[in-house]
């Protein structure tokens, strides 16, 4: 099982060496050799080999079985009777995928007192909304949500199921994948349908150093979690109509093995969550003192932005962990990211480098953040930010 190399068939063209992103193939005389410890069996070499000398042994695809699966489903997460913003992003993207397949888009709405949100999902593109509305869903629990969604998915046989890559979405989706024996691609930043009607799932790996295209060729449904803020929600069409179906999951409370005793919000008043914000004003160690965060708050208020921070700021307790951007914090991709006194360490960049526009204000002209900033100001943030606040106020007054 694995990679089979037919040394006799190999013509020594060395194309495979170029195709391998993992440096797992080396020249070996006039042939090649493989370092199987580096190989991830991605098949790039197999695809370029003109002599069919490389074979990656895979499972067989049962085409008939796969053809039975139809429609695109999206799981629409709710919190306190409202939809998470990623739900509308998924419905918009799901609509596009369903149109490519010529199939229907089904939204699954789970929560407590959320039935009225079904209309909105139809306006954004759902053909049908399945609503599971019950007080057992007031708090998210892995068990209640898994039972409900798995029992809906298994008999309905959708081709695709998408989840938002929120903390709850990333808790739920793998549970369902394991229960139904399905592939699951985490944290996608790109989704498309190919000629063979497969879902192409693009995601970053190795801290954003590399992108991978993942497929689930053998099993259906194809499941993915999708990063919030990557796909933009479309315009609602209030004249759209669709079907709303109620679903009673009939969950026995003893089936729910965890109990939520309390929910604590650290996103204090006036502080937006960085994952859902359109604009983020983020501060790093350059802000020097917690009292100076008022400066970033003032700028944030003006731009209706969330206040974020680098890891040291959060470690010092100046901002709650929910606001930390980066590899060990949140991955964000707002329309505008303003970095104040942040050096741009790789772990920070991993969490924000896919923002639409990046602005950096930093004293150090060599700071790596400037390598990815669309607009960089080399200067003292304590001089530049107050001036910036004045300028924005002036612009607003002119409008």
């Amino acid at each position: 099982m694995g990679l089979i190399y037919d040394r006799d068939a190999c013509t020594g063209c060395m194309l495979c060496i170029k195709a391998c992103s993992f440096g797992a193939i080396e020249r070996d005389g006039d042939k090649v050799k493989f370092d199987l410890d580096k190989c991830v069996l991605c098949g790039s070499c197999e695809a370029v080999c003109p002599a069919d000398a490389i074979l990656i042994e895979r499972k067989m695809i049962d085409k008939e079985l796969i053809a039975q699966y139809k429609d695109v489903w999206v799981f629409c997460e709710t919190v306190d009777r409202r939809l998470r913003s990623v739900a509308l992003e998924l419905v918009t993207k799901g609509r596009e995928l369903a149109d490519k397949l010529g199939e229907n888009l089904v939204a699954v709405l789970i929560g407590h007192e959320v039935t009225s949100l079904a209309e909105t999902l139809i306006h954004y593109g759902a053909d049908k909304v399945i609503v599971a509305d019950d007080k057992i869903f007031r708090d998210y629990t892995t068990d209640a949500y898994t039972i409900t969604l798995a029992s809906l998915i298994a008999p309905a046989k959708p081709a695709v199921v998408l989840f938002g890559a929120t903390n709850n979405g990333r808790d739920l989706a793998p549970r369902i994948a394991a229960r139904l024996g399905l592939g699951l691609t985490a944290d996608c930043t790109g989704l498309d349908i190919d000629e063979e009607r497969q879902l192409i799932q693009t995601r970053p790996a190795f801290g954003g150093n590399i992108m991978a295209e993942i497929i689930s060729p053998y099993t259906r449904p194809q499941m993915a979690t999708v990063r919030p803020n990557v796909f933009k929600p479309g315009e609602p069409d209030t004249s759209r109509t669709g079907e709303i179906e109620k679903f009673d999951a009939k969950i026995n409370p003893v089936q729910v093995r965890t109990r939520v005793l309390d929910r604590v919000s650290e996103v204090t008043e006036g502080m937006k969550s960085v994952e859902e914000a359109d604009v983020i004003v983020s501060s790093g160690r350059g802000i020097k003192d917690p009292s100076n965060l008022d400066l970033s708050r003032r700028l944030a208020e003006l731009l209706d932005a969330a206040v974020g921070g680098s890891r040291p700021i959060v470690d010092l307790g100046w901002l709650p962990p929910t606001q930390q951007v980066g590899q060990s914090g949140r991955t964000v991709c707002p329309r505008l990211y303003i970095a104040l006194g942040i050096s741009g360490a790789i772990q920070h960049l991993a969490g924000m480098s896919s923002s639409d526009i990046i602005v950096a204000i930093n004293k150090d002209p060599e700071a790596p953040i400037f390598e990815i900033a669309d607009f960089g100001i080399v200067g003292d943030l304590f001089e530049v930010v107050p001036a910036l606040i004045e300028e924005i106020k002036r612009l607003k007054a002119e409008r």
Partner: protein, 262 residues
């Protein structure tokens, strides 16, 4: 209390670079480390053992050199280790990884399993929940604070949410995934490092595990990598010196207005 900690050896991703000419990953000379989130998991397990007694078993599925990750966890204070290693395990996605780990863990007694929140090479955060499902036990993911009841039968965990955290209670057995803030992982000392090599380490291959070869490694993986490519490189744009902060601010606002960003 018997605790199992699944750990993974990962490349230090901060040092993984892309060869700009070929677009390939340069992994030569990049050190391999114990996944940072797994350090929180190992530390949590050791602290529970110190408080309540019991045994901590570290388990990994990975190539022969992944034994170093096991030694690190043993040096921190794990009691014994299991290394699932075989060519047949190679190419496993999260499902096949969770399945393989589950086959081993099903043969063992445990009260708690503590995983890291995610492995920093793939960042999927899927193996933990998939393992919990395959073992039929509840899970609490993204835990940053953990308490045991007096009788050692239930846990109360602070689970990170998108807005803050929630306080979740569950009876054992349970699987937990550890995130930053749960504790400060200890650095192994010389004594620990020396003792680690003498602790029991069991090496298990596919035959010893007794699994169907169709369900492990690449063949057991429902997902497949079709292509890998370097990300679109972001290049820096405008960079100005703020000799006059007012002027710099003005240029920035003009830029943002033109882009429709404000």
């Amino acid at each position: 209390m018997k605790i199992i900690v699944p750990v993974k050896q990962v490349p230090e991703v901060a040092e993984v670079k892309i060869n700009p000419e070929t677009g390939t990953l340069i992994r030569d000379g990049v050190p391999s480390i114990l996944n940072p989130f797994d350090e929180y998991a190992v530390e949590a397990a050791i602290q529970l053992k110190e408080a309540h007694g019991g045994e901590v078993t570290i388990i990994t599925m990975g190539p022969p050199q992944a034994v170093d990750a096991l030694y690190k966890a043993l040096a921190m204070g794990g009691d014994r280790a299991i290394h699932l290693t075989d060519r047949a395990f190679a190419g496993a996605d999260t499902w096949a990884t969770a399945f393989t780990l589950a086959q081993q863990i099903k043969k063992m007694e445990f009260d708690m399993i503590i995983c890291g929140k995610q492995a920093i090479d793939g960042d999927t955060a899927q193996v933990g929940p998939e393992l919990a499902e395959l073992l039929g036990i509840p899970q609490i993911c993204y835990v940053r604070h953990l308490e045991m009841s007096e009788d050692g039968k239930t846990v109360i965990a602070h689970r990170e949410t998108d807005e803050g955290y929630e306080v979740v209670k569950a009876k054992l057995p349970v699987l937990i995934t550890a995130t930053k803030g749960l504790n400060e992982p200890r650095l192994p000392n010389i004594m620990g490092i020396m003792k680690a090599k003498k602790k029991p380490l069991e090496v298990v291959d596919a035959a010893a595990l007794g699994v169907n070869e169709d369900l492990i490694g690449l063949k057991g993986s429902p997902t497949a990598v079709r292509k890998v490519f370097p990300p679109e490189k972001r290049s820096g744009g405008i960079k100005i010196e703020a000799e006059d902060p007012k002027e710099a601010a003005k240029q920035l606002v003009e830029f943002l207005a033109k882009k429709g960003a404000i």
